[in-house]
């Protein structure tokens, strides 16, 4: 598995493809100028959500996919990032974009600190510890001691920013660009990190921790720092989510969010950068798909009951795992190699 993923992250030619992809993304909002429609802003918003989830999944992937530490609690860092942004915007009247560096520092610190106890825990035990985090954070956010800042159970309502410098963009088009820029920077940084020495060290620890240690890699340091960086990524995603949704509340960050990140990670592709994007898109679309599939089944087969969309979601997940147990990115990679090898023969 490691061999597959390494080649995906570092293969030559992937750079050109990536640049093309990001350019295409950057051109998307301009479509709204050519074909103006009422619903365009909604699609822009969906695009923002996809990027937010993609960044969050990337954060989890750095930790789980590339470093082998499982986390069921990344929703906690997402919440932390969202709340730091919301509190700074709400109480401190900070402009939205200035909150990002603060979020980065706070979330890196939180992740780094959490990385220390995580060092002691392996697989299932680490899963429990992170699970704890996912459960604890929404409850702490509600606690009366800090309700003055967090807004308690009611949460905080934020102002949605307009485009700066009088750019002729709607707020949603502008936020799309804003998310796009952040996502590009973060993916580019991750790509470079993984390609270099530290990335190889991270993956060596995943593949065989003890061997990596004997090779002279400071495994504890790498693991805690990876935890910090992972939390930083997911926290920034949370900050973007707070800005684009313009509302934070403890209910938004309950356990299902952390589970969703894990599902996005596995469906997209473990230890694959492009897989993170696929995972982000999947997370936004899958619910709508299962809902429309459910409606379709009801009307086509004339059923008395609604087919619950979550059952359909479950079946979709199972099928995906049968067809592509290493995620969509892994599956496509295998298909690609299959075709090229056949041609070579």
């Amino acid at each position: 598995m490691a061999a597959i993923t390494n080649s995906w992250a570092t293969r030559r030619g992937i750079g050109a493809l990536a640049i093309l992809f990001w350019l295409a993304m950057a051109a998307l909002p301009l479509l709204g100028k050519i074909y103006p429609s009422e619903s365009f802003d909604y699609y822009m918003f969906m695009g923002q959500s996809m990027m937010v989830y993609a960044i969050a999944v990337l954060g989890l992937n750095l930790l789980t996919g590339f470093n082998g530490q499982i986390s069921l609690g990344h929703g906690a860092f997402f919440a932390l990032g969202a709340y730091v942004t919301a509190i700074l915007m709400n109480d401190g009247n900070w402009p939205y974009w200035t909150t990002l560096p603060v979020v980065a520092i706070v979330c890196f610190g939180a992740g780094f600190l959490f990385g220390f106890p995580a060092l002691k825990l392996e697989s299932h035990y680490l899963a429990l510890a992170t699970f704890t985090l996912a459960i604890a954070v929404p409850q702490i956010l509600k606690h009366k001691a800090i309700a003055g800042w967090t807004g308690g159970v009611a949460g905080l309502v934020l102002e949605k920013p307009d485009a700066p410098f009088g750019l002729p963009l709607s707020p949603d088009q502008w936020l799309f660009y804003f998310c796009l820029i952040v996502a590009m920077v973060l993916f580019w940084a991750a790509f470079n990190m993984l390609r270099g020495r530290s990335g190889r060290a991270m993956m060596a620890i995943r593949d065989h921790g003890m061997a990596a240690g004997t090779m002279g890699i400071d495994t504890s340091l790498y693991k805690t720092i990876t935890f910090g960086i992972s939390a930083l990524y997911t926290g920034l995603a949370g900050a973007l989510s707070a800005i684009t949704v313009a509302y934070v509340a403890p209910d938004s960050f309950a356990l299902p969010l952390s589970i969703a990140f894990l599902v996005g990670l596995v469906v997209g592709g473990i230890s694959s950068l492009s897989g993170c994007l696929i995972g982000g898109i999947f997370l936004v679309l899958v619910q709508n798909w299962s809902q429309s599939l459910s409606d379709w089944m009801k009307s086509t087969f004339d059923l008395r009951y609604d087919v619950p969309s979550w059952a359909i979601y479950g079946v979709l997940l199972l099928l995906l795992m049968y067809v592509m147990p290493t995620g969509v990115a892994g599956g496509c990679g295998r298909l690609y190699r299959f075709i090229t090898q056949r041609r070579a023969r």
């Binding site: 009422e38 619903s39 909604y42 699609y43 969906m46 509600k142 159970v153 949460g155 209910d251 938004s252």
Partner: protein, 410 residues
């Protein structure tokens, strides 16, 4: 019964064709989502997740609109009810509501469920000027026409309800020592605030001393046993039970098991005989007080009332898979009735402004399944459609009303 309906259909249809042939439709004014043939209505519901018990409301509404459509629609237009699953997660609600408003171009949002979910879209819908009406949440913030002229609730608000309980407790219990069990969320806070306001009004500045224990629980807690023990141990003789159905049933059962018999006030959210009192055991529930505004469907007293019979016939014909003892089917049913009536009153002026105007001009509307004497009233400055409740006590196997209708003022 069916004969009668069919004749009415025929009349409606005939009326519709008459109007068209006279060319009156030419003067019709349409906002987004409305046309000669269709009215699009948007809605979000927790069909999945922790709050999925409320999904019943949405299914009942869909069933009602299906009936309206088969009977010819509203003024000849079919209602297209788009009800989506937000899983009780506010960011998902934002996404879905934007989908409904911007992509699907609905005329209005109807009965979106959940306090946090509605808070998330509150500002957005008011900026977009989309009617956001008959909200399925009892928070008091939906009645603020000055700041948020496009949002309006429906049911009596939690705040007022809490206040009424406090007043009743102070008036009837000597030397009240109050124990509060509350869900740690928005609903719990609203109920608590109202109750505290009532205490303050009755007791003056030392009102907080009368609360001897206030404990909370999370929806993820398996049981509230530990909390109930704490309340009993505090020596409370009044139990203010601010819980959702499952926990309400647990708390009632547990307090009976440990022999704690305070004066108990159960919030209306959980006042269902079928979903709470019966599972908790009638023998454990005697004397519990709630503030009701709907007729209890499990109460044989109403079983001869015409509106109950009509509801039951409707359930059997149009919502046959639903459970006859779930009161959420009543909330959904009457919500849809009021919605249909508002649309009917809009006539051929189906603009968002007119929808809001009609919603804000309910004059003594009589709605089926409301307790006798309760009527819906709104005006451009009063965004609380239902404001009266009647206290009721568990007596045997049903709620017995006592006292007069109460409102916040009285």
């Amino acid at each position: 019964m069916t004969m009668k309906l069919r004749r009415r259909d025929a009349l409606l249809l005939a009326g519709g064709t008459l109007v068209t042939s006279r060319g009156a439709r030419a003067e019709a004014k349409y906002g987004p989502g409305a046309s000669d043939t269709e009215i699009k209505i948007g809605n979000t519901m927790p069909y999945s997740g922790n709050a999925s018990a409320y999904g019943v409301v949405g299914r009942a509404q869909a069933a009602y609109f299906r009936m309206v459509n088969e009977q010819g629609g509203v003024n000849g237009r079919k209602i297209n009810f788009l009800s989506l699953d937000d899983g009780y997660s506010p960011p998902k609600t934002v996404e879905l509501v934007r989908q409904l408003v911007e992509r699907d171009q609905v005329l209005l949002l109807f009965s979106t469920l959940g306090t946090a979910c509605n808070t998330a879209i509150h500002k957005y819908v008011n900026q977009k000027k989309v009617p956001h009406i008959l909200i399925a949440s009892g928070a008091s913030k939906w009645g603020n026409p000055k700041q948020f002229p496009w949002s309006m609730g429906w049911q009596p608000d939690y705040h007022t309800e809490g206040l009424i309980y406090a007043k009743h407790a102070l008036a009837t219990v000597k030397d009240p020592k109050i124990g509060i069990l509350r869900q740690n969320d928005d609903m719990g806070v609203d109920y608590l605030d109202g109750f505290m306001e009532g205490l303050k009004a009755g007791l003056g500045k030392d009102y907080e001393k009368s609360v001897v224990a206030a404990v909370t629980y999370e929806v993820t807690d398996p049981t509230v046993d530990s909390q109930v023990l704490q309340l009993k141990n505090s020596g409370a003789n009044v139990f203010y039970n601010v819980t959702t159905p499952k926990f309400a049933a647990q708390a009632i059962k547990k307090s009976a098991e440990i022999g704690w018999k305070p004066a108990q006030y159960l919030v209306n959210v959980s006042a269902s005989i079928g979903a709470v009192i019966r599972p908790a055991g009638f023998e454990n529930s005697q004397g519990i007080i709630t503030a009701a505004y709907l007729k209890d469907i499990t109460d044989p007293r109403w079983h001869g009332a015409p509106d109950y019979l009509e509801w039951k016939a409707w359930m059997e014909k149009w919502n046959p898979t639903a459970n006859l003892i779930e009161s959420a089917n009543v909330s959904g049913y009457i919500g849809a009735i009021v919605m249909t009536r508002i649309l009917k009153n809009c006539g051929d002026d189906l603009t968002r402004e007119n929808v809001m105007h009609q919603t804000a001009s309910m004059k003594d509307w009589e709605v089926p399944m409301l307790l006798p004497g309760i009527k819906a009233n709104t005006s451009p400055t009063d965004y609380f459609p239902l404001q009266s409740v009647n206290l009721a006590r568990i007596d045997g196997e049903h709620w017995t009303l006592f006292g007069d209708l109460m409102t916040a003022g009285s």
